[in-house]
Amino acid sequence: MKKRILKHVTYMTKLFTIAFLFQSISMSLLLANDGNAQVKSIEEVTVYLSLKDAKLERVFKELEKNTGYNFVFANREIRNLPTINLESRGETVYDVLLEIASQTDLGFKQVNENIHVNYSNRQRDKGTIKILSEDNVIVKGTVRDVNNEPLPGVSVIIEGTSTGTVTDIEGNYNVEVPEGGVLLFSFIGFERQRISIANRTNVDIILKEDARSLQEVVVIGYGSVQRADITGSVAQISSKDIDAFPVPNVQQALRGRAPGVRVIQNSGQPGSSVQVQIRGGNSFLGSNQPLYVVDGFPLAGGIDFLNPSDIASIDILKDASATAIYGARGANGVVIITTNKGKEGINRILVDSYYGVQEISKKFDLMNERQFAEIANELARNDGRPEVFDINNLPNINTDWQDEILQIAPIQSHTVTFDGGNKTSKYSISGNYFQQDGIVIGSGLQRGSIRVGLDQKVKDYLSIGTNIVATRQMTDNVNANNGHRGNGILSAAFVSPPTIAPFDEDGNFSEVNRYFFSPNVLQNPLLFAEIFNRTTSSNLLADVSVNFRITDDFSFKVIGGIEQGFLENDFYSPSVVRLTSPNGNASTSIIRNISYLNENILTYNKMIGAHKLNLVGGFTFQDFRSKDNRSSGSGFVTDLLLNNNLGAAQLTDPNFSDFSEWTILSWLGRANFFLNDKILFTGSIRADGSSRFGANNKWGYFPSGAIAWRLSDEKFMKNITWISNLKLRTSYGVTGSTAVSPFQSLNRLGVQRTTFGNNDAIGFVPEAVPNDNLKWETTEQFNFGIDFGVVDERFRLTADYYVKNTRDLLARVTLPGSTGFNSVLVNLGELQNKGFELGIWGDILINNFKWDAFGQVSFNLNNVINIGGSDVFGGGLSLPFGSPINIAREGQPLGMFWGFLEDGLNENGSIKFQDLNDDGVINNQDQTIIGNPYPDFIYSINNNFSYKNFDLNIFIEGVKGADMFFATGGSISNAFNTGENQLVDVYNDRWTTENQNINAAHPKISANTVFRSSNRFIHDASYLRLRNIKLAYNLPFSKWNIKGVSNAQVYISGQNLLTITSYPGLDPEVNTRGATGDLRIGIDETGYPIAKSYTLGLRIGF
């Protein structure tokens, strides 16, 4: 079988540049042949053979079997030659070749054990047989990149043989070559070079980067293909982009890197959740988050635990042809993450460190002490109470509470990676420490992780591999988001009176809820940071894979894995937080999630003439269990114990525990057929059985199909040399989403506690309306795309148009309260997302001064087609809104803003709401759609410049046309309703009894002024943000003749330094109800703003 590969050496050399993985495997196979050094002359070896009417392929195969020589030829060249007859009874190989030559006009050239079949020059060299068993010479040299940096790990192969080597850490190689031989230099990400050594013994070469080659490997589900062979819509993000600037987690590194991918950071609080949406949201209820697959393991949860520096590449599967292989979990797209792997021949130590500081980019302009006092007096006058402040005798305290809770916060990350390997073993081991303090006191995150990736070739037919990631992450949380009237740290800092100092004369936290008008939930902002609220997650992801090569064409892979997550929460609220925990309040909880995976995948690869066939089939099983325990208590004599001894609580609350489990079984199959390498077909199907669904719908089937046509490889396009690639793709497929939690279809009874006498009794009560028909959401997606590349792929464009229809939408349909239930879970209705996305890559300048750029723009239109005729509302907001402000209505995007329209002020200074139904009263019937939380489009532009040893990166990202509901304004822009400090704007432009300006922006200062969820709070949250700017200097150690350092880079960078927006809140990017999983989107309710930061970093390799 090894010999066969050698025979296909021309094909294989192309193939082994495909994937790093494949490269390694095929390299090993090639190099495994080194032992066969003794080569006999073809004039000595004899043959016994009798063939009639045989095809040449068969002839060569028989000769190989009989002689030990390898024949090197291209299938397509000899396919059409006539069959021959051959009879040999102990004649030499030389004679046999002469006989073949006479029948076919072919020439032959022997180089050591290889016999090259000379087809192309057969007119000239007709029937010649050259024997080149020359003496070997030693050739040395250094391989460098265009920056003159040595390249370690480059494969150096003698053409037509299995012999070769790899370059060492300084890019040097040393190889024995037959005189006049040819060396092939190849390295992933670089253009391959073929160098005739002639009489030279010293060959230094420079390899050019080839990052955008069509031969790049793209990882798809249960396999990988070359970019040229892709039929679906798949975007790839390289490690260079992932760690281009400091990001606390991998999701944030996806932002702006691929068309059609929207990353929404719900809040700037360290450790807060990030939403990734691929091609819009398909679901009401589901998270709409993609399925994450790490090194082949489909995760049950998110990827917060991964260190961005450990990622080698990310492939994002977008259309159904790509995602259908993940069936019931593929509807929201699939993000396939490949961690770093060791490379053969180089043992490296890489250090990647940065340190930065973060600070707030914007503060609210709030009323000062005097303005506050004036407004408070005005409230008292307007509401018929005595004035509170003596305006001319204020104590001059003037606290800006925002300054009290904000800080300049460090962020740092340090990663050390050891990787390398030899022919049979490869390793990559890394450790990381990451720490980020929040810009609001009391928040922060620390993470430590280790990762081990090992690959071992055990036998020719068997290799094994393992990937293990273990992470521990500690997050200190402070109650910041979704505050109102001072019940969270940010809200309290915005609304606390500037007339009160942070601490009283005794140094205690001052009482800020001091006036008759003060909000009753308000506490001193500093108290929130006194509450200890730490989440510790310990994650382990481990898998082992065994890969059998059954025959040349067949291989079988078995993966067994485990994903384990322990999520602990420690909470202690000390007695100083008098309002909510006057005697101390503690809890401890732990959630244990375990998921087991087994996958069994059979792969078949076959060349059928000029056609390629690739088949994948398999069976997978995954099981999830989650256990949850919580204990809490209150009434502590001392705050010293925190939550470490709940036995010290005066009152222990009832324990809580929970258990849930679900299982998914799947059969999957996929066929790729490449017709003449020009027309590509893909078909796939997956059958999923999931325990989550109703008894009547346990199994779902998810098919897909795609066709791509490589126009540029057609004859009529071949002459247009400036076009390097033109491919049209179209696909259609069905995927699902298991948005429903386990057990939802059952008629459940839950625990209800009650008390008789002074003892509690436990009862059971109906908890849900049963639904045996509950099933997955089905998303059908059509995609049409075009890939276009010119000037050797120097400029590339990918454009896709898609239409996604999701039916059987899982919806929590609101029930009339008189049923005794709030809602029921049903499959109802249909939702459509359609969009267009465009990505452009260009190497604009390629000489000394280099400039490459990437730009993308993505449009997505979301539309509720059918939800059974009646509107569905999101959850309510905090005061003063209360009622829902997001609506799902047929014919509209999902979750549009719903509320009242204003019509200026009336003569009493109250807000005039529009009476839309003209019935003379303003009530809920006067609500309408008042805004759209979805952007018209999102875009990003990334620029890399380099000159000599300097690199400059400028990354701009933006959102256009999205509205945001500025719910923070319900507290700080509400006519002083319950005594909150207000924006200065309220002071400056308001209706007063002295100046009854009905055109004033703000109504009468009064507790009775009514605010509703109106267009007053809707603002355009379009923004353009300078996400990153980075200047790096590559230290030229080799020029300085310093050995041992292969590369070194220092850089300074800044993130979010500039934001252009008209949005009045602190940050146009927050989405504070984003984690609730209902319709509430586009809401900024005291969102923790995203920081700007300055970073200093170092990357060095030994």
Partner: protein, 487 residues
């Protein structure tokens, strides 16, 4: 050949997988394995009682709505709009009304689940009758709270298990009251007449009779109301608790350590682990022994009857306070606002939601006052016994023997109007913060007059709470026209 060993591998996997997709819940119960024995029947009933818990109904939001609507309390903070009668409730307090409505119906559905499922259980028939009667009582109690404050509402008498049941039209007040009276009449013969102390909180036949008398009072069926109240007074096992000083109210009736008392006919019981948070709503953070205070959300209105309350009435001193006492004994005056309400207090509570104070629903004094009012109105004249019953309640509050004449007695020759005014006033003193006053003002038609007397602007929108928008939008039996006036 190597391919062969794959097949057994897959087969092994498959055999292990049979039946694996069936769900087997472990942390809750599925209906298919419930309602099978007597303890399941009790669990279903106790779950229905559990509705009387501590989120919206009856405490804390329902109670906040009733008490801040009454003339004696102003809401503070976000509850300010409840005490503003000139316009509809603001959005956030509408939500509180909706949530109260929804929780009441949650209780109705739970009671219906008992009534639908328990009859099929094989168990002691006597016990079964009692359980079903208690469920009917609870259902009647839930409906009575809807009809009093929302008006006529949809009637649901079956557990909701199927979409087909979704439509239910809004019924008239009379139909709902008839339904309530029917449930109570059914329940009373089967209910226990008393429970041991440890079962306090379960409904007895006397609890049901009180609710029935209360219902007749609201329906102005005076004779029936008087008859039933008289039955409770004469035949029930209840006697007045003796009060000799203001703090006796705390020690003997409302205090956290009181499990029950001789005048308790029905109460909602609380424990530290199933506590209420009313005290947190009444007191300030530094509440000086009144329990875990916090938001002092209900502020006494001194321009109401509170301002003219006789200081010799022990209830006056018991119900409000103007200072707290530090552990050192130092007197600390309350900062503005002062005074605050005092009735519910649990000085030993460990957290804001752990106050053990029970919520009285029916006490013996109410039987006296229902009798007094109903018998006078039934005959359209003040009779001696009605004055005597009113005086009994008043005497006890001044520390006298309730059943002997005293110096605070009202004369027996009062005109009816004046008698009713005094009686309604006595109900206010006696039941302050017991969710009675607002209904008294509504059913006697005094709401507008009393509220305006405190210096506030009245609008008729304040008579009823709004129906939830979700009810109107999603109940095919209702239309926009069914919403209460002004919403």
């Amino acid at each position: 050949m190597k391919k062969l060993f794959i097949l057994p591998l897959i087969c092994i996997l498959l055999t292990n997988c049979i039946g694996i997709l069936d769900e087997d819940p472990k942390s809750f119960i599925s209906k298919s394995n419930f309602y099978r024995n007597e303890s399941d029947a009790f669990a279903a009933l106790f779950g229905t009682y559990g509705t009387l818990g501590n989120s919206s109904f009856p405490t804390i939001w329902f109670m906040a709505l009733l008490e801040c609507r009454a003339d004696h309390a102003n809401g503070r903070g976000s509850q300010v709009p409840i005490s503003n009668y000139s316009q509809p409730l603001d959005a956030s307090n509408q939500v509180r009304a909706w949530n109260s409505y929804n929780e009441i119906y949650q209780g109705i559905n739970r009671a219906n689940a008992v009534l639908d499922n328990v009859p099929g259980i094989e168990m002691n028939e006597e016990t079964k009758k009692i359980i079903l009667a208690e469920a009917k009582f609870l259902r009647a109690f839930f409906y009575s709270n809807l009809v009093k404050y929302w008006g006529g509402v949809p009637l649901r008498d079956k557990e909701f298990t199927d979409f087909a049941q979704i439509a239910a039209p809004r019924e008239s007040k009379q139909v709902v009251w008839d339904f309530i009276i029917n449930d109570l009449t059914d329940a009373i013969p089967n209910l226990e007449s008393s429970f041991p102390l440890g079962q306090t909180g379960r409904a007895t036949s006397w609890s049901a009779k009180m609710l029935l008398a209360d219902s007749y009072l609201n329906l102005e069926n005076w004779q029936e109301a008087a008859n039933i109240a008289e039955d409770v007074i004469s035949n029930g096992p209840y006697t007045f608790v003796e009060i000799n000083e203001p703090n006796d109210y705390n020690r003997k009736i409302y205090g956290a350590d009181v499990i029950s008392n001789s005048e308790n006919i029905w109460s909602i019981q609380h424990s530290a682990t199933n506590g209420n948070s009313i005290a947190q709503f009444l007191h300030r953070t530094q509440s000086g022994g009144y329990g875990i205070g916090g938001v002092f959300a209900w502020v006494p209105v001194m321009s109401s009857y509170l301002g003219t309350w006789d200081k010799n009435d022990f209830r006056q001193d018991y119900n409000t306070y103007t200072f707290t006492t530090a552990p050192s004994g130092q007197i600390i005056p309350l900062p503005s606002p002062s005074p605050l309400f005092k009735k519910y207090q649990d000085g030993t509570a460990a957290s804001g939601a752990a106050h053990r104070n029970n919520i009285p629903v029916y006490r013996l004094p109410e039987a006296y006052l229902i009798y007094a009012e109903a018998s006078a109105r039934a005959t359209n004249s003040v009779n001696a016994l009605s004055v005597e019953r009113l005086n009994a309640v008043r005497r006890r509050a001044y520390g006298f023997d309730p059943l002997s004449p005293s110096s605070v007695d009202f004369p027996s020759d009062l005109p009816l109007n004046q008698f009713i005014d005094l009686l309604i006033q006595e109900r206010a003193y006696e039941f302050i913060l017991e969710m009675k006053r607002w209904n008294d003002l509504l059913r006697t038609g005094k709401a507008k007059e009393v509220i305006e007397a405190t210096g506030k602007v009245w609008s008729d929108v304040s008579y009823l709470f709004p129906l939830p928008v979700d009810e109107i939008n999603n109940n095919p039996g209702m239309t926009e026209a069914d919403q209460n006036p002004g919403y």
